[in-house]
């Protein structure tokens, strides 16, 4: 074999590649501890869950892994991963989080699936897509917690503004009267932004698969692509919608909190295998991330958080562009300014972080709606398998984070439909515009 060239398009990943593989590291630790873990698990499985939560807190809860590599994509909502590490909340729970900047969601997926990353800041829908094998590898997945609500947006190009298409209704009219190819971008076929974009377009009677052309572009490349005229609109997480306004190439036609107030967005995702093999490590990650979430949600801390995540090694974007919308200060690029009470939330007394089964199922209903799933899956069964409610509850109770009573929640979306998670099959089939 030749010497490694280490030539990649992304210098951060080259550095990461040189360090020891966490997989090898983890394996060695695992070999050392297998006996102890299996022994403990064998006995613990006979103890009821409530007692168990207390028992592992009694001293048998040392994380199996000392270091965890968590992947992220440069977006405002990667903050909890970064803050958990830079503010050393991780050390409090006996782990060291190594944030790893990734170039694409496909790469996040592949690396989580093959164990090169232990976990990742990842699109809710992507985790469900991998679990069901939509368009790629199929692997049993796990959602440890939800990272944030709100704070994504739909940007339309200034060319559309010049044609008068400043709202969904006007966009619909333009597409009908001024016939040409309209191109819209999102960030991953099964991801959240694809679903917000499709939902928004469809709520104005625009069929996202037939009336417009659909492409996928990674978040940090979104603005540059719109600048060269590759697209008429996109849906992406902040700070990239605000960046489009600052760069004078587009405007915010809708925030995702307009589409669904307090919608689920990124999750801390891993494989089912990891969650089962390293439950203590998983709990430690959840606890560290919950502390970070609490910290970020204190408004007075947000400026400081924005300064940290603005760095080249994280989002690589000017602080102000990140900070404005993080603090709820919105302007749409059309002259309207407002204080948005539904800005990006990371904690909200724990309401953000609980992995509601209804949130997970919602993405399945949309995958079905748009033909990514050909048949109705066992909605509840899949969500129960993926969302690690028990692990989350154990971790949350340790750090005194309130836990909601119900695993389902009820929300009303932009088109007036109500989603309560009770009849996903009927809900998925109820939309007028669908594949």
């Amino acid at each position: 074999m030749n010497k490694p060239t280490e030539e990649t398009t992304n210098s951060e990943t080259t550095v990461a590649a040189k360090t020891q593989s966490p997989e090898q590291n983890g394996r060695r630790d695992f070999m050392k501890q297998t006996g102890a873990i299996l022994g403990a698990a064998g006995i613990m499985s006979m103890v009821p869950m409530g007692t168990r939560a207390v028992a592992w807190a009694g001293g048998s809860d040392a994380p199996e892994l000392k270091e965890v590599k968590i992947g992220f994509i440069p977006l405002t909502d990667c903050a909890s991963v970064v803050i958990a590490s830079t503010m050393k909340f991780d050390e409090k729970y006996g782990i060291k989080i190594i944030p790893s900047k990734e170039a694409s969601w496909a790469s996040v997926r592949d690396k989580v699936v093959n164990g090169e990353l232990h976990a990742a800041h990842v699109l809710y829908g992507l985790v469900y897509g991998v679990h069901l094998g939509i368009g790629g590898p199929k692997k049993d997945m796990a959602v440890l917690m939800s990272i944030n609500n709100n704070g994504q947006g739909i940007t339309l190009s200034d060319q559309l503004k010049d044609k008068g298409a400043t709202t969904g209704d006007k966009l619909k009219k333009l597409i009908e009267t001024d016939k040409r190819d309209y191109t819209f971008a999102q960030t991953f076929p099964t991801g959240t932004h694809a679903m917000w974009l499709y939902y928004w377009l469809a709520s104005y009677g625009i069929d996202p698969l037939k009336d417009v052309k659909n492409i996928t572009v990674p978040p940090p490349q979104m603005v540059a692509n719109m600048r060269v005229g590759n697209m008429d609109g996109f849906c992406v997480g902040e700070p990239w919608n605000n960046r489009a306004i600052a760069d004078k190439i587009g405007f915010t036609a809708a925030t995702t909190q307009d589409i669904w107030k307090d919608h689920p967005e990124k999750v801390l995702g891993t494989t089912a295998e990891f969650a089962h093999m390293y439950p203590n490590t998983a709990r430690a990650m959840i606890m560290a991330m919950l502390e970070a979430s609490k910290y970020i949600d204190v408004m007075a801390n947000r400026r400081g958080v924005a300064e940290i995540i603005a760095d080249k090694s994280y989002i690589n974007c000017p602080v102000d562009i990140i900070n404005q919308r993080m603090e709820g200060q919105y302007e749409d690029g059309l002259g309207r300014k407002w204080s948005d009470p539904n800005y990006m939330k990371f904690y909200n007394d724990g309401a953000v972080n609980f992995p509601y089964l209804s949130d997970g199922m919602w993405f399945l209903t949309q995958h079905k709606r748009w033909g990514l799933l050909k048949e109705d899956p066992d909605y509840l069964g899949v969500a129960k398998k993926i969302n690690q409610i028990d692990l989350y509850k154990q971790a949350a109770s340790q750090v005194k984070v309130p836990i909601p009573k119900d695993v389902l929640r009820t929300s009303k979306l932009i088109d007036g439909t109500v989603w309560d998670g009770k009849d996903p099959k009927k809900y998925a089939a109820s939309f007028k515009v669908r594949a």
Binding site: T9, S104, S107, N114, P189, I215, T216, V217, P218, L372
Partner: protein
């Protein structure tokens, strides 16, 4: 041993001769192209990521696409191949990491192929061979799953129809089944179609 077998593999794999490289790193793409041509593959094109769209991929008419694991544009390719059923092609993902373990794990996980940049040109042909085989295996498994699902649906139909015949005509189970099978044979229909007809008739009279 592997070297001796290689020309044989290449000759047998004529179907997978045409390779498209998508890479923004020009000299790497050139190196790959040279390696591939040495191994008697046709490199039908080198695309930069900004050139990638459904049309350019379609136009290249490649059998295998090779991309860099760390390229941001990979998500673009994901969407194109998911949305277009005609573009189902093996994608060889090249990574800077070259330890065997991560490659093996990626392959097991079902990524079409996931191999190091530092491979020698002889290995590359083998890798494409492997990538393609891997891809076909994935497709076969998916097809089998589809098949299994439709068989399950058919069996349920047959069971329901059998139940109707037993309840309405007092046939025993083997008798009901035999009647359906005989009718299927004499009409040249599939058993499931006969079962469906019985169920429809029952629903009509109910």
């Amino acid at each position: 041993m592997a070297r001796l077998l290689l020309p044989f593999i290449i000759n047998r794999e004529r179907k997978l001769k045409r390779i498209l490289i998508i890479d923004d790193v020009r000299d790497r793409a050139a190196w790959l192209k040279a390696s591939l041509e040495l191994a008697e593959f046709d490199v039908v094109g080198i695309l930069a990521w900004e050139q990638v769209d459904e049309r350019s991929i379609q136009a290249a008419a490649a059998d295998v696409i090779i991309v860099d694991a760390n390229a941001p544009g990979r998500d673009t390719l994901e969407q194109i191949s998911l949305m277009s059923t005609t573009l189902e092609k093996p994608v060889v993902v090249l990574s800077a990491r070259n330890d065997q373990q991560s490659i093996q794990e990626a392959m097991r996980a079902g990524v079409s192929a996931y191999v190091a940049h530092t491979i020698q040109s002889e290995d590359l042909s083998g890798i494409i061979h492997v990538a393609a085989a891997r891809f076909l295996e994935h497709k076969r498994l998916r097809d089998e799953l589809k098949e299994a699902k439709s068989q399950l649906v058919e069996r349920k139909l047959v069971d329901r129809a059998k139940g109707i015949l037993m309840a309405d005509h007092g046939y025993s189970e083997p008798e009901a089944y035999k009647r359906m099978r005989d009718m299927a044979m004499s009409k040249g229909k599939r058993l499931a179609e006969i079962a469906e007809a019985i169920i429809f008739a029952k629903e009509l009279s109910a």
